[in-house]
Amino acid sequence: MDFLPIVLLTIIGYLSGSIIERRHFQSIRKRELQLKGILTFSAKLPPAEDFNKQSVLVSGNVVISVDYFKHISAALRNLIGGRVIAYETLMERARREAILRMKTDAKEKGASQIFNVKLETSSISKGRANQIGSVEVFAYGTGLI
């Protein structure tokens, strides 16, 4: 009897989670295509001929929560060990979204190239018990105008 809420939450989590994930990926692909013109590099310095360009700090961040299905799936995986597929897709979504937001920021500021891109990842609400984890990804770099 006590299993029922967990099973129910897992099913709801899977159904809603997969729909949200699919939509998110579709939107990411669409926007990646739109923002193709803005180039990102993790190289520290821009080429010498661009040294006289104006620079501006651009950034983007996103916090994404896991759904209950991913939570259960990861908890089970935790007992056995190995690749946590559920979280890998989550991290990929968060990272691409953060980079996209950084690119959007760059576009608004009129930059077309971003150098020295750095990515920070942190997990929010990890330490608290009974708390479903969520991750924040923060992307930042120097945009050249």
Partner: protein, 286 residues
């Protein structure tokens, strides 16, 4: 120098495996592992607890009494005359059942309307006045008492305690390591499920022994099946949580019928309860 951002193949970082397939494999694997581990642990605990001397149970119980005044928690102690009568009957049955010399049976009569009786550590048997009020003959009462004596005889209380303890320790060690509420809940459920099914096994074993005792004591097992008329009614009572670990009463009733069919052929008269006790019961029924 050229600068460009070509399109990167996105399947490299994204797993291609379907999440549900992964989940199914995980769930079956973990469930199978957890079940076998707990089964092994329980077997081990069952095996080990048999070697705990009965005297240790008694000391443990005495200590518990001192700390918590257990009887007060369960209910008010009933009339002494009834308790003495029950004690005498239990002693006779214990001799018939041939319990080891090291064991002793202590009956406690508790004033509470619940239809229940149970055995606990140190040979203590608790009988609730509600159940006694529903017994109309000595044979049924003897069946109840023999059943509880059989629990003590087979060391069921200490085995159950050992099991509970083992499961608690195992759960804690897993919890301490992974600190996940989900795995905690899962393990708790598995632990409870195995405990339940094992205590059913104990109930059936206690029934068998009790029937043999009755057969030896009275020469028949008439009246034993009335126990389930009482418990069957009690099952509908939501207050009666203690009975919830008992097996399906129908199954147990069938076992008794099978036993009596193979031992006695014709109807036998049941022994009446003492007149003074009957009067008390009658006054309580009203």
């Amino acid at each position: 120098m050229e600068y460009e951002n070509p399109k990167i193949d996105e399947t490299i970082n994204l797993p291609t495996e379907h999440p549900l397939k992964d989940f199914a494999i995980l769930l079956t694997g973990v469930a199978a592992f957890a079940l076998t581990t707990f089964y092994m642990l329980i077997l081990l605990a069952d095996y080990a607890t048999r070697y705990i001397p009965f005297s240790f149970e008694q000391t443990l119980m005495d200590k518990l009494e001192q700390f918590s005044a257990l009887e007060q928690v369960i209910g008010q102690p009933g009339e002494e005359r009834v308790e003495q009568y029950l004690q005498a009957l239990a002693d006779e049955l214990a001799i018939t059942q041939q319990i080891p010399d090291s064991m002793s049976i202590t009956v406690h009569y508790i004033e509470t309307p619940e239809l229940n009786a149970y055995a606990t550590l140190g040979g203590h048997i608790y009988l609730f006045s509600g159940l006694l009020a529903s017994c109309d003959n000595e044979n049924t009462l003897a069946m109840i008492l023999s059943h509880e004596i059989a629990h003590v005889h087979h060391r069921h209380p200490i085995v159950a305690l050992g099991r509970g303890f083992t499961i608690a320790v195992a759960t804690l060690s897993v919890l301490g390591a992974s600190n996940s509420d989900i795995s905690h809940q899962l393990l708790n459920r598995f632990g409870l499920a195995t405990q339940l099914s094992f205590s059913r096994k104990h109930e059936i074993q206690a029934d068998d022994t009790a029937l043999e005792t009755l057969q030896r004591h009275y020469g028949h097992v008439g009246g034993a099946e009335r126990l389930f008329d009482l418990i069957g009614n009690a099952d509908e009572n939501p207050l009666n949580t203690l009975l919830s670990t008992h097996p399906l009463t129908d199954q147990r009733r069938q076992d008794i019928t099978a036993f009596s069919d193979s031992h006695t052929s014709n109807e036998v008269p049941l022994i009446k309860l003492p007149a003074w006790l009957n009067e008390k019961r009658a006054s309580k029924d009203r």
